[in-house]
């Protein structure tokens, strides 16, 4: 089964042989530095220290946000 996640509002599919097991693996897969990102899964904030022990389920809505310049 292909894992489909809604990441920042866009559906993204992962083939069986490269399905990320947890949030930490997903970020690695996407090439996103974990040090600066904060994540929300289905409206629940996941703290950075919990990324590696947060499993992913098909259909989850994942928000990945970070700081940018702002006033």
């Amino acid at each position: 089964m292909t894992l489909i996640l809604k990441i920042n509002g866009v559906d993204k599919g992962f083939a069986d042989d490269r399905t990320p097991e947890n949030l930490s693996e997903l970020l690695d897969d996407l090439g996103i530095s974990q040090a600066t990102v904060v994540a929300e899964i289905d409206g629940l904030i996941i703290n950075r220290k919990d990324f590696a022990r947060t499993p992913l389920q098909p259909g989850q809505a994942i928000e990945l946000v970070r700081f940018v310049g702002g006033g």
Binding site: N8, V65, G69, G71
Partner: protein
């Protein structure tokens, strides 16, 4: 210079800097340093998962600067609270610049939603610095629910129009029991000085520095203007009068009368 105290922290600088609109992170970091700022605002946005993102935090030395995440983009209290909680998870600190701006053109803040969000966030342990219209009644309500400052706007954000709301800000300052930070619309160092001379506790500047020809030079100019304004306020400005009053003696002229 007397120190600025917000919540439980003291600051030497009374110039807060926004980090948006800079041509590069390097220029931003240079301007922040030149401004002598100790508090810098940042925004929270989705990661662009298809492109490499610049890492803003790599350009901000967290040992020197207090990060003040804003809730920009929030259109109501609920969205602002969500952003504030995400920002706390991202920054590790509980300070937030609360802004709720449903109107996309003038970006004017929604007072009732801001008050609603502030109440929730204060109860949730946040140090809340709300961005508001220059509304003295709202400012009082916010300080009553426990916000750490009030941040009335001088004119619409990014407009560089200067202190258009001065009369109302004077009332806010007169009534305030928390620091008053004049935010938005300050386009020139003289505008910042004017706000500080009136007794504002601090000013927040972004666009006027970030989009100047030389942001570092403009940051220095704003720093001096903010300091000059504070020093003038603390020194007790002389009164104004209707007629002329000579500064030089009116006796001993070199003529016979």
């Amino acid at each position: 210079m007397d120190k600025l105290k917000i919540a439980d922290k003291e600051f030497d600088s009374r110039l807060l800097i926004g980090t948006g609109k800079y041509a590069s992170n390097d220029i931003m970091a240079g301007a922040v340093a030149a401004a002598g700022a100790e508090i810098v605002t940042v925004a929270l946005r989705r990661v662009d998962i298809d492109n490499e993102n610049d890492d803003l935090l790599a350009a901000i030395d967290r040992t020197k600067y207090l990060l003040l995440p804003n809730t920009s983009g929030a259109r109501d209290a609920e969205e602002a609270i969500r952003l504030a909680r995400l920002a706390r998870a991202a920054s590790g600190i509980n300070w937030v610049k609360l802004e709720v701006t449903p109107d996309p053109y003038y970006l004017l803040p929604d007072g009732s939603e801001t008050l609603k969000a502030a109440e929730t966030l204060v109860k949730d342990g946040f140090v809340v610095l709300p961005y508001i219209n220059a509304d003295p009644i709202l400012a009082k309500k916010l300080q009553d629910v426990g916000t750490a400052t009030v941040m009335p706007l001088a004119s619409p954000i990014g407009s560089n129009q200067g202190l258009k709301t001065g009369d109302s800000i004077e009332i806010i300052i007169e009534q305030a029991t928390v620091p008053v930070v004049v935010d938005a619309g300050l386009g020139l160092p003289s505008h910042a000085a004017e706000a500080m001379e009136m007794g504002a506790d601090a000013v927040l500047v972004n666009t006027a520095i970030a989009t100047a020809g030389d942001p570092v030079g403009m940051a220095i100019a704003f720093r001096r203007a903010t300091e000059a304004g504070r020093l003038a306020f603390n020194s007790g400005p002389a009164g104004t009068g209707g007629g002329a009053v000579a500064s030089s003696p009116l006796t001993g002229f070199l003529r016979n009368e």
